[in-house]
Each structure stands twice: as C-alpha cells, then as structure tokens.
Amino acid sequence: DTAVSQTPKYLVTQMGNDKSIKCEQNLGHDTMYWYKQDSKKFLKIMFSYNNKELIINETVPNRFSPKSPDKAHLNLHINSLELGDSAVYFCASSLGTALMNTEAFFGQGTRLTVV
C-alpha cells in the first residue's frame, strides 16, 4: 500500500482554470505538508497542517487554498491558475508537529503544467 498518495500524477490545464490536487496518507500521521518544486528543483514548503489545523502558511498567493477534511487528507485547491504555477507539487506527512525525531514521507508528486 502506498503510504502517501497524490492524485492526479499529471495535470495539464489552461490559465485561469481552477484545479485541485488530492493527498491521502495511511501512516496514521497527524501532520501533512504541501511543497512546491520548481523547474530548478528547488523545494519550498507551502503549507503545513496538524490535526486539520493550519500551522504553517508560507508566503503563498491566496489563490492557493489547502483543505484538510481529516488528518489523513490534505487537498490543495488552486484558483485562477497562472503560468508560474507550473511545478511539481509534493505532499508529505509526518508524526507530530515538531517533526523532532521523526521523518517526513513524501508522495509521488503531481506535475502541474499550466498552458
């Protein structure tokens, strides 16, 4: 069974559209994250949720809205997509907010291409 799974794996869409990426983890973790990896492979944290509550919100346009219906799921909704949103988005999860003495497990990534 996949520990952290994201859907879809690939997403091609036009500018201005609204799209969602879903993430689910079956590890029993209570903290989930979204990271964005740009074309230069730079990984930047976007959001972090612990037990459905937002704990980290980096400087991300408010067109990006995470939603956590329960602690096993963290979805990312993006409004009014722009060319610059093209990237690979990784979901991750870990046990505990502090991440101390634990590690993050990553999903396979969602490659978003905005045309």
């Binding site: 990271y35 230069k40 972090s48 870990s94 502090a98 991440l99 993050a104």
Partner: protein, 111 residues
C-alpha cells in the same frame, strides 16, 4: 533567518569515484538533519537522518553523513559511486516546526 545551504549545484563524476556533498544550516537550537534523494522522475526518498547520538550516521545504498555541530554542517559521503547514484540530493533541516530543504545538488555519475 533559518536557511539551509548546499555547496554544489551540479557534480559530475565517474563511477567508483568518491562523493562528498556539503550542507550547512543556520538554526540556533536543536535540529534534526536529513538527506533525501530524488531519482529522475521520482519522489523524494530518505537516504539517512540524524536525530542525536553518534554524529556519523549511515544510510541506505552505502551513504553516510557526519554531523559537525560546531560547523553547523551535515555533509553526505559515499566512498565509491555507481551510475545508479545519478540523482538530485537534498539536505533538509528540521527546526522550529518546519522542514526546510537546501537547493539540491544534481549528481551525474558517468560510466
């Protein structure tokens, strides 16, 4: 501001050569340290981690890393690389509730 720096952006070496990738961080308190690897087209996988204890940690696939607290460093090493080690390598540091990554080092191993 907290930051993670990886010294090299690109490294090209031949099979059987030794590899060392530098990583420095700027957190003042207790940290956990990680190296992740991303093979072409794949997701991040954990290579090794340091939480406490012996500062020399061994990971998978023959990799090891040494934590030097006085230098705020956590360098990754492998004595003899293989073609299959071609990948992007990321140092990551956890402190203050956030897992932060370095910019990554692309390693290309030529036959």
């Amino acid at each position: 501001a907290q930051s993670v720096s990886q010294h090299n952006h690109h490294v090209i070496l031949s099979e059987a050569a030794s590899l060392e990738l530098g990583c420095n961080y700027s957190y003042g308190g207790t940290v956990n340290l990680f190296w992740y690897v991303q093979y072409p087209g794949q997701h991040l996988q954990l290579l090794l981690k340091y939480f406490s204890g012996d500062p020399l940690v061994k990971g998978i696939k023959g990799f090891e890393a040494e934590f030097i607290k006085s230098k705020f460093s956590f360098n990754l090493r492998k004595p003899s690389v293989q073609w299959s080690d071609t990948a992007e390598y990321f140092c990551a540091v956890h402190g203050w509730g956030k897992l932060q990554f370095g910019a990554g080092t692309q390693v290309v191993v030529t036959p």
